[in-house]
Each structure stands twice: as structure tokens, then as C-alpha cells.
Subunit: 200 residues, 2 copies
Amino acid sequence: MNGEELSLREKILDTSRHFLFTKGYSSLSMRKIAKEIGVSATSIYLYFENKDHLVHTLIEESVEELSRAIEQSAAQKISTIDKFEAIIRAYVEFAMSYSEKYQVIYVMLSSEMSRYPKEKFRKARRGYALLESVIKKGIEEGLMELDEPQIAAYSIWAQLHGVISVVLNQRLDSKIDRNKFIEESIEHIVQGFLVRITTA
Amino acid sequence: MNGEELSLREKILDTSRHFLFTKGYSSLSMRKIAKEIGVSATSIYLYFENKDHLVHTLIEESVEELSRAIEQSAAQKISTIDKFEAIIRAYVEFAMSYSEKYQVIYVMLSSEMSRYPKEKFRKARRGYALLESVIKKGIEEGLMELDEPQIAAYSIWAQLHGVISVVLNQRLDSKIDRNKFIEESIEHIVQGFLVRITTA
DNA sequence: TAAGATTGGTTAACAGTGTTAACTTAACGA
DNA sequence: TCGTTAAGTTAACACTGTTAACCAATCTTA
């Protein structure tokens, strides 16, 4: 049945993602994945062309979910400034709630970049494009004052990724409260891009 | 002789780094490295405990060079603001001049994070610590206005890494001039952290 | 100078890897 | 009921990291 089909495929993806996350790429093995699920190693090849393809699917799937989360979150807001903040919050929210999926994107996409097909990569940038368009609108509306929206958008991703990395890799000073750190970072980032209103 | 010793070890490191960079981790093989150099695979084990250790040495070595470059560059400047900019420029300079070494740090450190010994990781943060201390001084001197120097320092690394990634992975729009992009990004980042002087 | 130890490599072997080809077995359609 | 398809299996191949045992120079030193 269709339910079963999907199930094994899904099991493979889940198990791979977990192994990738806990043991690192270098000890990700088709046989181990199969053994964990209780199936023969070659069964994986019924659903994925090869190991590369399996990992790429993992990335693609995560990117898709993240993009969707961002789009939905932005769609719920009306004003540009609310959209701007919503995108940022959706991104962080996703990273914290589905940390394994988030890590798959950044860990694997960087280490296996050269093997990842370029056309899939382009698709991966929906969320980025959305942020860029919101920033452009923000400039038009006089909310932001930036000469390069492209660079600004990239800079925001990078800042967010920095904050998230610190938290996910547990490199945060134990004295610092996690949620407070995240909240303050988001505010700092958002404020850093808005035109400062001088009450004079 | 010592010259010879160093030579093979160095050859192994160079070849590994290059393979890592061009083919990705998943096709980095001890036998291939050895073959490229013209030596037996087991010879590598005379210089490195195992594959993990080899890769970790690669990371450590790159981190060390980057840290040194940053420290030297900062030491040449006197004022806090010059030190601040010097650190940023040294970082970007290193990434552009030794892109393979730079990529080793960020690519491998993220994908094999869980296997990388924590105490080596702490050492890796000299450059980061230096930037943080410069920022603190900048706040004291009234050059910057920030509530969280730790977060600010991290944010700067992240922004820089973002800019560098775009350039190194050749994902920059072909119409945009590379050097101009870098220069404008640096200025944008630096200015973003300084107190805005209002000529009133 | 001869004997022993050290240095810097080698080859052979083992267990584990991705992947392919050929086989099985169950379910379904005619 | 026969043939086909689906979903899996086992056996095999070439390659992987790694270890153990070996070899040939070179250095030390009595």
C-alpha cells in the first residue's frame, strides 16, 4: 500500500538525519541505517539512487520546510515591518524546533557543497528572496536606510545563523539564559536594520 | 633529516586539504592521498594517528594561522577603532588569500563538530576573544553603543563569514564586482557598529 | 668497527563501506 | 490460474580505514 511505501522511505530519511546529527557524516553508513530500521542495506536503493542522493534529499526536504515556514509566517502579517520581523522569528523558531533538520541544511550544505546540484541550490533560496523583497519594500517605505538590500539580506541570515549556532552547539556561557539570549539577539538584529527614530 | 620529515608530513597535509576542498569530505581517502604523493597508505599513520586526527590537524593548523594573522594585524594599530577595522580586514584578507585553509575551518568544523575535541575548540577562539576585547574597549571609549559585546562579536564573525561565503562559493551575481562587493560589505559592517555622528 | 637501536618506510590482511546483479516471494489483474 | 509487478532479499566486487608484521637503512655507542 501507499502508506507502507511512504513509511519505509520516511524511516530511512529520519534515521539518516538522526545519524548525521549525532555521529557526523563520516560515520553515516547505508548498512547501519538499514540495520537500525531492520531491513537490508540494498533496500535503501529502492528509494534513493545512492548515498549522495539520500543526503541531498535530506537537505532538500529541510530547505523546503524552512522556506514554507518562513513564507507562511510572513503571509500572516500585513505591514512590512511586521513581515520583516516575522521572517526572522520564523527562521529562529524553525531552527530551535527542528534543530536536526536545520543542522542538515547548514552542516551538509557547506561540507558537501561541491557535490550538491546547482539547480537544487537555486530553489533553496525562496526564503532568502522573500526577505530581500521585504527589505526592498522597507527601503521604499523609508523604514530602512540601506544601499545594498542583497548584502543586507545575506547579513541578516548570517547573523541569525551565528546566534543559532551558539545555542545549538551549546557554546553559550552557562550563566546566560538561552531564551533571553535569543530574544535579545533578535531585537538587536531587527533594530540594527531600522532607521533610528530620534525624538527631538 | 628534519627537513625530510617535515616535508612528507607537510605534503600529506597539503594534499588532504586540497582533496577536501575539491572533492569534498566523502571522497577523501587515505589511499588516494598516499597515491597522489607516491607513498604507501600506511605511511600516513607514521605522522597521524588516524583519519580524524589528520583532519583535526588540518583544522587546528588553519585556525592557528588565522588567529596569528588577526593578532598581528591588530598589534600594528594603536587606536581602538583602527584595531577594530584591522581585525575585520585581516579576517577577510586571510579568507581570500588562503581560501582552502579558510574553508577547512568552517566546512569541517561544522560538519565534524561532534568529533572535534572540545579543548582544541577553546584554543580556536583567540581571534574571537581579541575582537570581543576590542569591542569592550570601544564601548568604554564611547565609539560604540552596545549592550552585549559577546553577541556583537559573534554577529560580526557571522556577517563576515556570510560575505566571504558568497564570494568563495561563486554565488555572487556576475554583474557585481568582487572587490567592490567585499569593500562595501566591510564598510557597511564596520559602520553598522559605530555610533553615528550627527553633525548638528 | 661491529652490534644494537631507531627511523622511516613497506606489504598483507581484516573488517567494514557503497553499489550492482541476480534471485525470491508475495500481491494483483486478466 | 498465469503473468506481471512490487518490494524486498542474498552474494559479490572494488574500495575504505586500520593494524600487525616485516625490512632496510642510518645513528649510537662500546
